[in-house]
Amino acid sequence: MSLQVLTYIVVGVSFVLYVGIAFATKARSTSEFYVAGRGINPVVNGMATAADWMSAASFISMAGMIAFLGYDGSVYLMGWTGGYVVLALLLAPYLRKFGRYTVPEFVGDRYGSQTARTVAVICLIVISFTYVIGQMRGVGIVFSRFLNVELVWGLITGMLIVWVYAVLGGMKGITYTQVAQYCVLIFAYTVPAVFIAFQLTGWLVPQVGFGASLNDGSGFLLDRLDQVVTDLGFTMYTDGSKAMIDVFFITVVLMLGTAGLPHVIVRFFTVKRVQDARISAGYALLFIALLYTAAPSVAALARWNLTETIQPGVVGTETGNLEYEQRPDWFKTWEKTGLVSFDDKNDDGRIQYYNDTNESFKDKAAEYGWEGNELTINRDIIVLANPEIAGLPDWVIALVAAGGIAAALSTAAGLLLVISAAISHDLIKSVFSRDISEKRELTASRITVTVAIICAGYVGFNPPDFVSQIVAYAFGLAASSLFPVILLGIFSVRMNKEGAVAGMLTGLIFTVTYILLFRGIIMEPLLPNTPEYWLFGISPEGIGAVGALLNFVVAITVSRLTPKPSEELVEMVEKMRVPN
């Protein structure tokens, strides 16, 4: 059976599974539609949260980013897991106790302000929509690369699948499909990781192989990696090139942003009790950690494998580099997609892969007769081509395709649900038509999900140039706008609506302005995006942490200068703080 047919079968079976679950878990009330009737088992919710959280970026791109960034890639590892500690200890149990359907509803009710609720809706839509576009792209990429389907058909198929289970099942349907998707994606991620770890280090557990010695007896993986990459002019793998302050702030942003992402927060509204929310966060992080601790091992092993493939001999010798005609099959396959490309600058028929932007390496390169780096590699290759590089059987490759799609679809569904809930519950119901019946609200939310899916699909197909740039900043926006307001709503009784609105707007406006200043996005950047111009050396990726700090300072100051919150609100906060 050809790989193509096999991939169709594996992906097709996974789709049948998702749709089958959708029909079995139809939502019959708004409570089931928004929060799965609050009856989800904590372990099940942990698994659903893990799938909800791990997106196309975690599955397809993260290991590749780490492989090429080395130590600097740690910001994603620590940031995207450490955020769960913040979420579990500071937000989840209290938000569950408060017992609402959406994040803007929490903000609106806690502060007794429709304005605060509406500002929260705006923040939520901006954050979630930029995020969902990335998922749609992910679905399209997997379809077009593994199944040879035109991008547009890939997107339409993905949209239809999400539509079926999101519209029918709402949060209830999404939860159980996410459980299935978690199983698919973790299996698809782990199998190649185990194989490649075993091949190179003799260990079956990738997390152990990461710190082990190589099978060829040349020494520890990380030591050898440091050596071979520095021989080619790259920064040492275990040593970063980013400034410490920037690494620090980016990690803060990714952590607080994770804790402030509405589609993650609402998952904790679906469990029965406060204690379940606490335990559930633990399981969520455990399930996430299975992938997040495998990723850095995959990254290091793949970088090693890649470097050894291209540079099998001694650096600088005439025959040290791989001959282009001798390139392995995976290289040929991925060349067709444009993700790997070769440009023989010195016409020697061999591939030179080195850091040609390193000034101190220039002389050496010239001495070797190298005239520039000849290999361009897209970072997504690391995960997508991993099974082929490791020479794994076809079914593993098919599995990786299904895993990538599962990761993208599960996150897209969670995002689309919070967007539609914000529109149907926080805008339509609370602003325009308060006495809407439950049945009509349910219909309204099904229509908004449909509209949101169509919009996301359309933008996924025609992404405005700035989209890919914005996605990276969704965390900064979440950290600087929603996170502080939610946290203060729980931990400061004195915090009032004036403080909350002023804080959210300050955080959001400051962060957006700083990003636009350096990245332009919708205009020409006003300043060069280099450390000399950055505020305290903090890049636009890390500035959300400063935005969050400003949000806290402004919110606290404004709240002290304006009237105290009413007795009822104070009582509400005090009730939220105790579990019973």
């Binding site: 990461f210 690494v247 009790r273 606490r278």
Partner: protein, 82 residues
């Protein structure tokens, strides 16, 4: 305020656990990474290990420890759920 001693104990618990969270990630993985990299554990430099693997292990443990201790605290103050 309802049950002030419960809230005080709760803040203390969260504060202690969050300081561990801060130390394993921001201190060991970022601020002191160069210093800790002089220490080797098997094939890892210690600072790099905290940044790419150790901190994640500790995070998982922290959340479960929190869930356990918070439940005990609820019981001690008589505020646990039915």
């Amino acid at each position: 305020m309802k049950n002030p001693s419960y809230w005080k104990d709760n803040l203390k618990l969260v504060g202690i656990l969050l300081s561990v969270w801060f130390v394993v990630s921001f201190v060991c993985g970022i601020l002191l990474v160069d210093l800790l990299n002089h220490v080797r554990v098997g094939g890892f430099k210690l600072g790099f290990w905290f940044a790419q693997q150790g901190s994640i292990f500790v995070f998982v443990i922290l959340v479960f420890v929190y869930a356990h201790l918070a439940k005990k605290l609820d019981r001690k103050h008589g505020v646990e759920e039915q």
